[in-house]
Symmetry: C2
Subunit: 266 residues, 2 copies
């Protein structure tokens, strides 16, 4: 007997149930990030039976939407990446975010950055100018920095699956420990753990001596965060106390960005 109790989650589908299940599986693989997802986890997290997930994955493999690594983990393919590029995203609608970033600069008086993950780097897309006379122009718009060596990047690391963040950190340490600045491999891992638990990061002397930053990733239900917002100021202007005071504004900003993205180019 087929009880099909899993229909409950996907019930609203108008008559193509497998399509809904396929979407759930794709979402779940994306959520797993670059490390890939295991069949058992996909089955658990979607509530679908293992044979069903397996059968759907088999077809997705034929369509090259999914590939399986040597460790049998399932990953999305470059084809999915390209299909995604045809869909509306921030990159093509940056100006829609400008007022939100600038408003955070206005209310805080400090320099605010918007950045986007690109592989193991953070790509700085936009800078809001605050009114406070001592300004930190540490990063220029369109500059690219390793995630391990900037505030936004560390916020992004904290929003991805632990194994993936760890592997990025390990790789960066191997490539060039110098980019960690004051941090060590372990202190950075701890810092990232703090971000993972608290949803924000605060640190000093990351991109530049004497500069502090408060950063938070834009929440993303469908996978690791890929956008982050950083408030930057000279260290005396941004002690932990003030960072905590600013946090609600920062959270509001990231939430507004989330909302704008969801409604892009309807």
């Amino acid at each position: 007997m087929h009880d099909r109790s899993d229909r409950s989650d996907l019930g609203s589908a108008g008559g193509a149930l497998v399509v809904a299940k396929t979407c759930a599986i794709l979402r779940e693989i994306a959520r797993a990030g670059g490390g890939g997802a295991r069949l058992a986890d996909l089955s658990r997290n979607t509530g679908l039976s293992r044979p069903s997930v397996h059968r759907i994955l088999a077809t997705l493999k034929v369509e090259d939407f999914v590939r399986q690594s040597a460790s049998r983990r399932y990953r999305l393919t470059p084809q999915v990446h390209e299909i995604g590029l045809s869909a509306p995203g921030v990159a093509g609608n940056l100006e829609a975010l400008r007022p939100v970033i600038q408003q955070l600069s206005d209310v805080s008086g400090d320099t605010v950055y918007l950045s986007m993950r690109s592989g193991t780097n953070a790509h700085y897309l936009m800078r809001g100018e605050g009114s406070y006379p001592i300004r930190t122009y540490v990063v220029k718009p369109f500059q690219v920095l390793p995630m391990v060596s900037c505030h936004s990047g560390r916020a992004l690391l904290g929003s991805m699956p632990r194994p993936e963040a760890d592997s990025i950190i390990a790789r960066a340490w191997f490539d060039d420990p110098g980019q960690f600045k004051a941090a060590t491999r372990d202190s950075l891992r701890e810092e990232i753990e703090f971000v993972r638990e608290n949803g924000y990061g605060w640190a000093r002397d990351v991109t530049f001596e004497g500069v502090a930053g408060l950063a938070r990733a834009v929440p993303n239900a469908n996978g690791p965060g890929y956008l982050a917002v950083t408030i930057s100021a000279v260290s005396p202007r941004l002690p932990l106390d003030r960072a905590r005071d600013l946090l609600p504004k920062l959270i509001e900003t990231t939430s507004r960005i989330r909302q704008i993205i969801d409604n892009l180019q309807i």
Copy 2:
């Protein structure tokens, strides 16, 4: 009687036929680009019956993989964009392309650029250095230029659906005709038409007086091109004749890039 003759295209699926159909539909919507796709076209291009496409789209709408505009066209959603960001793509593997770009510089002696579409802009990602002593460093890596005012951008415009390219051109002309440089709205449209038919663009004085460029988009079966390669040199060094001689090398380069992308991070 249901003849299901459409099974032929999708036959290799291992037992989840609707999944294969869903993939075909997603691919087809992506191929239509930002303008969206109409139900009838999706039905024609996938070989699936209209009711089937409609039913699958209805579910994709519930899952927010697809939205329908006022003109009833179907478009991918920001959610699909985000899922795509979790899949391997050039952005996260740029260094894999460096040798290919540099090799084209080596063989041509000229400056070679790799760029990526980002909305209505072309984002310059990488520059290969040639040995010819008069160098054109018109663009810096990570610089962003409107597609209408750079060689790569024009190659990209020529690889997207005509209506979409036209609308980008029209919008850019409205925003600031100055960015067209020597071109007019109509001459640019003709230039793009040439690119569409011939697969490459050659022009002078686009980014800078006295500089010529030969550009081509990296072919993309799943939608409009999003990467382009440009060979750039002072005009006397790159007349149309020489551009035609270089074209095979350029084509080879873009094909190799295509191949590298397809095999990213298996």
